[in-house]
Amino acid sequence: MSKLYMARNPRAAARSLDGEMMIMSGRDSTLFTLNKTATILWQSADGATPLEEIVEKKICAEFEVEPIRALADAEALARELADHEILHISEAPITQQNRTAGEKR
């Protein structure tokens, strides 16, 4: 499986409410809430750390969950959030430059 990188879309509004993220899409103002594990993924989405590493160090270390299952769930979530344009995902590290280029396309 190739590596997947995630970066928060700076156009989204976000705030933690009691450990869970409220996120408003910058595209259409749709409001989302993320549960605690999804919140960990969101907060770790720095564009530089592979999803696999985030899952291993921050999800599996904290929750009793099988690594393969956790990674599959995390990847599905990342793709869903990317569909709503609140996360950027890529198979290469995401920098400010390539994120901006992606937004302009």
């Binding site: 700076p10 156009r11 989204a12 509004a13 976000a14 705030r15 933690s16 409410l17 009691d18 409220m22 408003m24 910058g26 103002s29 409001l31 989302f32 809430t33």
Partner: protein
């Protein structure tokens, strides 16, 4: 329950101010006849002070930040503040403006920064009426041009209209204009007293008969029979409800750092130049007093048939002299909507002395009997 309602409930339980209106300035380039503000600058917060406040608000859990004024585009640092609010602190930012300084370049920057919506004050589709309210010739044309620039950037635009004697006949034309431009449109029949307590501006309000007609416009209210139905009396549940979100999940900060429960509730609770925002929010006696009030604690209103459905604004009640009392403007609205007078209106009627009283004047030894006006 919608997701937003769920989040509000959660914020209420956790005592988190989910939304804050921050007025960046009271200065304005229009002079609207109904405006409640003093437009002189008495020492606005600096850019650094505002950024510090935004940090405090974000840390306190504020999610929705409404930036208003005065006219926000008169602040030379507006875009710096917006970038900080969006990029550094990830607020959901809503703007309130007359937009007459918004051209293509500003609209494009707002798109880049990513604001949730831009609310523009529009009072009529006719320049002679709109400009007659703002007292700025050409203001309607400029505001509408701005709405077009903003829409062309894909931004959400909302026209906000206050219904007054000068423009009430135009609201349908204005709604048609909004539809043509593809923007949303809100109407509000509430004229707010001046911040210094002067209530003379309330004479601009449209009055009961006209309001009654507006409330029976199907295009506005949908099912007229349902909207104007006589309310059922309040039960135990409705009486334990909160009057509104002011001081509970929302508050207002002035350009001078004063914190109030709401922009329409000028009860000073602290100043962010002297105290931390969160200390004011959590520990201000006044804020906690506002927070403690339930509908069952209201004077007069608890016995009112409208208590469960009234739009009573605690801030307007406060400006009338008692934050636990009725808000006469909302009594008028309930009456105009249903035809049923509020408990407050009935009490005032009972208490009001007849304007003209005729009584016999004792016959003087040298005069004859007569009547006189007391």
């Amino acid at each position: 329950m919608s997701l937003l309602q769920e989040l509000n409930e959660k914020a209420l339980t956790l005592n988190i101010p989910l939304s804050v209106q921050l007025d960046l300035t009271y200065r304005c380039n229009e002079r609207c006849v109904h405006c409640y503000l003093d437009h002189d600058d008495h020492g606005e917060m600096t850019t650094a002070e505002i950024k510090h406040l935004l940090d405090e608000l974000a840390d306190a859990g504020v999610f929705v930040l409404s930036l208003s004024g005065g006219e926000i585009f008169l602040r030379k640092d507006l875009f710096e503040i917006l970038e900080y609010a969006r990029v550094e602190r990830q607020f959901c930012v809503k703007l309130k403006t007359n937009a007459i300084m918004v051209r293509e370049r500003e609209a494009a920057r707002l798109r880049e920064i990513g604001v949730e919506s831009i609310q523009i004050s529009i009072y009529s589709h006719r320049p002679e009426v709109h400009d007659g309210i703002t007292l700025v010739p050409g203001s309607l044309r400029r505001s509408i041009d701005a709405a077009r620039f903003l829409k062309s950037q894909g931004l959400r635009v909302i026209f906000a209209n206050v219904l007054m004697v000068q423009n009430v006949q135009d609201y349908q034309g204005m709604r048609a204009l909004a539809e043509e431009l593809g923007v949303e449109c809100t109407l509000d029949p509430t004229v707010t007293p001046m911040m210094d307590g002067d209530r003379s501006v309330l004479n601009l309000g449209i009055g009961h008969e006209t309001l009654r007609e507006v409330f029976r416009d199907q295009a506005l209210v949908g099912d007229v029979d349902e909207f104007c139905a006589v309310p059922s009396p309040g039960d135990e549940n409705s009486l334990s409800a909160l009057p509104c979100s002011a001081g509970h999940t929302a508050c207002y900060v002035s350009p001078y750092g004063d914190v109030f429960p709401c922009v329409q509730f000028p009860l000073p609770t602290g100043n962010v130049r002297k105290q931390k925002f969160l200390d004011i929010w959590r520990y201000s006696e006044k804020m906690n007093e506002v927070r403690s009030i339930r509908l069952k604690d209201l004077t007069t209103c608890t016995s009112c048939t409208h208590v469960g459905s009234c739009t009573r604004c605690p801030g307007l009640a406060y400006m009338e002299g008692n934050m636990r009392g009725p808000s006469s403007q909302d009594c008028e609205k309930s009456f105009a909507r249903t035809g049923v007078p509020s408990a407050n209106m009935l009490a005032k009627k009972r208490a009001a002395p007849n304007l003209v009283q005729i009584r016999a004047v004792p016959t003087s030894p040298i005069g004859s009997g007569a009547t006189a006006l007391a």
